[in-house]
Amino acid sequence: MGATILMPALSPTMTEGKLARWLKKEGDTVAAGDVIAEIETDKATMEVEAVDEGEITKILVPEGTEGVQVNSVIAELDGGDAGHAAHGPEQPVSNAVQAGGETAQVAKEAEDYGAVAARGTARKEGAAAETQPAASPEPEKEWGETKSITVREALRDAMAAEMRRDDKVFLMGEEVAQYQGAYKVSQGLLDEFGPKRVVDMPITEHGFTGMAVGAGMSGLRPIVEFMTFNFSMQAIDQIINSAAKTLYMSGGQLGCPIVFRGPNGAAARVAAQHSQCYASWYAHVPGLKVVAPWSSADAKGLLRAAIRDPNPIIFLENEILYGQSFECPTDEDFILPIGKAKIERKGKDVTIVAFSIEVGLALKAAEKLAEQGIDAEVINLRTIRPLDIDTIVASVKKTNRLVTVEEGWAFSGIGCEVAMQVIEHAFDHLDAPPVRVAGLDVPMPYAANLEKLALPTVDHVVDAAKSVTYKK
């Protein structure tokens, strides 16, 4: 059985090249793997190896020939094989490079353009699919008796409850065990669960995050505490490229159930490197869920759900909230769904969308607005991705006005996404352009007065609400 040797491509975009040199001549016998020729493009030189064994019976393209089309026959082995179905150039090949020359380039560009256009459509479908309204917006479950606890206690209780429930759950991070937590969130966990399940890590975020992701891929359920999310930047490659994308890249075989948690955003007087909100960084990435609790109930209910979730979760806490107390259900089974926002205050004049510490700010603003005759509805996002756009849209359809509040920078921020989705879903219902209240577009300053100026205030929210309701 004979075979043909084809002009190979060096890259998917190569259409032709120079057959620089033959290293074998007619009559030579070749074995698989033997180098038989060299080809060149303007970029590179490559050796052509024989894949089949046999005698070179004919060289069809002499050495030195320029512009040899990819996939054209350059030589025959054992007399060639017209009927050899698998590799002949007549074989339909989907790649545009096959056609060769300028036509292929034009076709390639057209194809790229088509792909971009198609992606636009697909994204729309995807967005719609992702935000498909739940059958009917169920009212939040009533959990009965509550007790006032701090956010810090709520987070610890959530971890303890899930660690009791599932022995695959463990906590790792810097100072989580013997030191009892840099912010005391893991207080008491080492005593109850021991050093196997509450694991102190050296200061080596990149390494231990990768290690945790590997453990997650293997079926454990790690909780990774970042002392603050600022330090997750050391490890962001592992979070995005390894944790978020592997399920997709493996065709659904290999997921990574893992929670990355820790304080996010500005603390107080710690300057630019320690005061940043990472919500929009992580919310950008398909394959991650991003959760941002405000109250103790949020913290406890959402962290329990995050630990049980089979996907990688970014759980953004806030250091200033750790010591604040809120009523929290005492029911042992208390848990909250990821992906559901909560209407913290009902109102009819303006929708204020906030998350994390800014929910408190929005509620204070709503009180001030009430004094001035403006009835604000305050939505606590709870989850940033997947975004509960249904709750937001339903509210905007009622109030016809939108204000977003976040501590992070406005540019490419969560407010952008909320406003854009409202425009996509409820443009005709808007009576005013949405307004974003956000941190100023500067690195966080250290000086007390400057820091105060850089962050959103109650008055900013009040002013924004008044502007969208056209009230002075």
Binding site: F170, D237, M249, G251
Partner: protein, 351 residues
């Protein structure tokens, strides 16, 4: 799982390999029986022929993007795989086709992933650098240089957590060995006594930069010294030498003594990826390795000198050729993934 790949004709003993003790009692040269050597020959040849075919399909435009061939380095994975037991894990970088075949993944499923077809291990969504098989203990296939090293430490962490005596082989190249997270992983692995064998495949070039120009560390097997991790340099072109060292390393891990480093001195015949101008080394250097140190030719000679019938080798050659031709055929006829697959496998449903 990959149905089409399962239907493939490839037969392989998977990881049911002899334990160190049984090998030691029935040994010939290098602790391997004639039968084991023939199996190693077959496994290496399968990788060689598979990669040559992949190179050809790439040349025809049937494989896109990046394609990093393993030709020349076959003895490393094949030798190391003989040291493993069921339940052990393997993780590596993007030069990963050889590792997949060595763990017993089907040629069909791997080749069809290269062509981006639905019969591929990742349904065509991962490509050359991103394939996985939990069943075979293969955890990828990772495209970010060095990232698999801390992931491998994590697989070993899970082994320690479960205390099930399993070991993770974590492969990376001489280029990746310069990444910061590799050293972070050495520290973590030594600190926590993780059962992980760090296998550095030193093929002398990180893309076009020679190891000499990239690292002040001249003996990478000693890179774990500050953390007390034992290491050795191994002739990675000799499958028996690889196995001997591999058995020592794996035993060390199984005994709970923590990590081990093996620096495999190996060589890749082909470019870093398909479009490699190869200006950084001479043709003579490549030719010399091929002619004097080729792992497959060397073993073939050992087998023949050991009295093996040439006909048996021919049977293996034909068998491998048939498997690869079948895989290539499958990879071209398996349909492209359904457009619906665009939106699947992004998140798992929370229960």
């Amino acid at each position: 799982m990959v149905q089409a790949a399962k239907a493939g004709p490839t037969k392989r003993r998977g990881k049911a390999t002899p334990t160190p003790t049984s090998a030691a009692t029935s040994n010939t040269a290098g602790g391997m029986t004639q039968e084991q050597l023939l199996q190693a020959y077959r496994d290496m040849l399968l990788i060689r022929r598979f990669e040559e075919k992949a190179g050809q399909l790439y040349g025809m435009g049937l494989i896109g993007g990046f394609c990093h061939l393993y030709i020349g380095q076959e003895a490393v994975v094949v030798g190391m795989q003989t040291c493993l037991q069921p339940g052990d894990q393997v993780i590596t970088s993007y030069r990963d086709h050889g590792h997949m075949l060595a763990t017993g993944m089907e040629s069909r499923g791997v080749m069809a992933e290269l062509t981006g077809r639905s019969g591929g291990y990742s349904k065509g969504k991962g490509g050359s650098m991103h394939m996985f098989s939990r069943e075979k203990g293969f955890y990828g296939g990772h495209g970010i240089v060095g990232a698999q090293v801390s992931l491998g430490a994590g697989l070993a962490f899970a082994n320690m957590y479960r205390n099930d005596g399993t070991v993770c082989l974590t492969y990376y190249g001489d280029g990746a060995a310069n990444q910061g997270q590799v050293f972070e992983s050495y520290n973590l692995a030594a600190l926590l006594k993780l059962p992980v064998v760090f296998v550095i495949e030193n093929n002398k070039y990180g893309m076009g930069t020679s190891a000499e120009r990239a690292s002040a560390s001249k003996d990478r097997s000693k890179d774990g010294t500050p953390w007390g991790i034992p290491g050795e340099q191994v002739d990675g072109m000799d499958v028996q030498a690889v196995r001997e060292a591999g058995l020592r390393a794996v035993a060390h891990c199984r005994e709970g003594k923590g990590p081990y480093i093996l620096e495999m001195k190996t060589y890749r015949y082909r470019g870093h990826s398909m479009s490699d101008p190869a200006k950084y080394r001479t043709r003579e250097e490549v030719q010399k390795m091929r002619e004097q140190h080729d792992p497959i030719e060397t073993l073939r000679k050992i087998l023949l000198d050991g009295g093996l019938d040439e006909g048996k080798i021919k049977t293996v050659d034909d068998d491998v050729k048939r498997i690869v031709a079948d895989a290539a055929e499958f990879a071209q006829t398996s349909p492209e993934p359904d457009e619906k697959e665009l939106w699947t496998d992004i998140l798992l449903e929370a229960r």
